[in-house]
Subunit: 339 residues, 2 copies
């Protein structure tokens, strides 16, 4: 693969999913220098077309033969698909940028947020992993603070959108809510708890030893790997709320040395991928409706943690688009690092 | 007032509001021994009737003359109304049980959660304050733990329902959501931020010094007063979510000595006003839809705080009905303490 000589051939596996659709939009919007784009999906979705740069591109079935001539394969079709097709991608000499959790904690696989550890991407052995959405959305604003003053401890409470469970979950939230408003019964098939005007502890398996659910475990382990700091003490409570596509997180952060609101605000003002929304007079802080379809993570409620009189702890409230920076955008940014 | 000799005459000021309606239901359901019930509301709502124990009781206008012969006046009509009518209630020799924030931090006014500090009610000088909803819902499960092993530090992230802003806010959430589903424009008049499938930092004024909003300030100060422990270090992030009538809170709690999940679970199993919902295998934890219209605060996700290796910290997720234990039920329970 010689990206200096020519623009890469890019494949998107899972092109018709919620994240796949956003990957196409990101490639187009960022004018990604690709020579051709191959759209791959399950047999069920194959045969349709998707619009890209004014053309209707065919969606073909994802098979082991799909990767001939491909340089970069963006995967967002679930962990089992990523695992099943990784050998075919490698055999074709393509680099896999994988949005699933399949390879994230593999020590041979870089886990990359381009604003944080772009250099890690260069160490890849054929696969680069895209972190989990709730990890990325916290990590982008925390990293510039951590660089200035090491984070010792992080306590995160999340407010996560339906989109993390895919298009079908977003549609189910809307349909369940309409039924509730109409006083009609509705049977959910995607999300295991009533979702209309309701919230629930993240619907992933709870580890019987740590008692963290999978989402919480990802946030904890992936943050340490991305930051290259195995000693950060992290706990998380991950909750799904009836919001469509942007996550929020309430973060309590303890630093090695004192950190003031003013210093943190100054650092975050210059941080890539971050936009400060912290208007105390107007009571205007990060909200999912304003983070949706935006590239930046919104950060506000920047303040001293009143429960830590030492001045070492801050609290923040952040919001980021789950489908963009939480998934598709970050993956496309990783692809940009490769050339 | 001699409650031994006769059942009290009870007045409800703000009877037609979201909390007032629930106060009537609680008085009826709990078979409160009242000799008569007087329903008071603003001029606008006066003239209607409300059903109580099979009778249609008239709603009359709240005036300074309303309290003749009244023994207990339950107020839930906003702080300015409570302040304005407190002298009239006192002049009539009645006890005011006030659901507003008007008197909560007044050192002469007991702030009472009957499961926690019932003895404080006896010290009243004419007014007993009902704590804020988010305070009560955290305090009920935290108190039995605190009694066994002092809480040094509490970090709370809330997920608060529309009902805290009244009936009109609940209706506005439904109407805004229906409009969003229909793709129609909708102008909110009650809640200052878009509420359909959205969430936002609690819409109360942010203190320019502490940077806590009023809701967070209440949770911090009221918890210390109710627990009689001014030293507990507390920080809170209060967020309103698109849920109708039950609040949730993610709590991180540091104790003076180690506290295990098993010990906390055993303590909470016997705690009044608490129901444990902590089914790890079924991924079934406290949810607003199951806390709604229930008297108990639901508690689950009871686990060691992974960010505190000392074993002194736990995390919990709680949910309680904002209108019942967060307001009306607690007020009626205070009234029960008076006889």
């Amino acid at each position: 693969m010689d990206f200096v000589a020519r623009s890469p051939v890019v494949a998107v596996a899972g092109a018709t999913g919620a994240v796949g659709v956003e990957m196409l939009k990101c490639l187009e919007k960022r004018n990604f220098p690709l020579s051709s784009l191959k759209l791959l999906a399950s047999k069920r979705s194959a045969g349709t077309t998707m619009r890209f740069r004014g053309e209707d591109l065919p969606v073909t079935e994802l098979t082991e033969q799909s990767f001939a001539g491909v340089d970069i394969a963006l995967f967002s079709a679930g962990g089992s698909i990523s695992k099943a097709f990784a050998p075919a991608v490698a055999a074709a000499g393509a680099v896999m940028i994988d949005n699933s959790s399949a390879f994230r904690m593999n020590p041979d696989v870089p886990l990359v947020v381009p604003e944080i550890n772009p250099q890690a991407a260069a160490q890849h052995k054929g696969i680069i992993a895209n972190p989990n959405c709730s990890t990325i959305i916290a990590a982008v604003p925390l990293w510039p603070l951590h660089r200035k003053n090491r984070i010792k401890r992080l306590i995160a409470s999340t407010y996560q959108a339906a989109s993390g469970a895919g298009w079908a979950a977003m549609e189910e939230l809307k349909n369940a809510t309409r039924a509730a408003l109409d006083g009609k019964p509705f049977t959910q098939t995607i999300i295991p708890h009533p979702y209309a005007f309701n919230l629930f502890s993240h619907n992933t398996t709870v580890d019987p030893v740590t008692l963290a659910n999978e989402e919480e475990g990802k946030l904890i382990k992936e943050t340490r790997k991305i930051f290259g700091d195995a000693e950060i003490r992290i706990s998380a409570t991950c909750v799904r709320v009836p919001v469509l596509r942007a996550h929020c997180e309430a973060l309590t952060v303890e630093f090695e040395r004192p950190m003031s609101r003013e210093e943190a605000t100054a650092i975050l003002s210059d941080a890539p991928g971050v936009r400060i929304v912290d208007d105390i007079a107007a009571n205007h802080f990060p909200m999912p409706n304003e983070a949706s379809e935006q590239d930046d993570v919104l950060v506000g409620r920047i303040r001293a943690d009143m429960s830590d009189p030492s001045g070492h702890s801050l609290q923040l409230f952040v919001s980021g688009d789950q489908l963009l920076k939480g998934a598709a955008l970050n993956a496309v940014q990783i692809a940009e690092l490769l050339h």
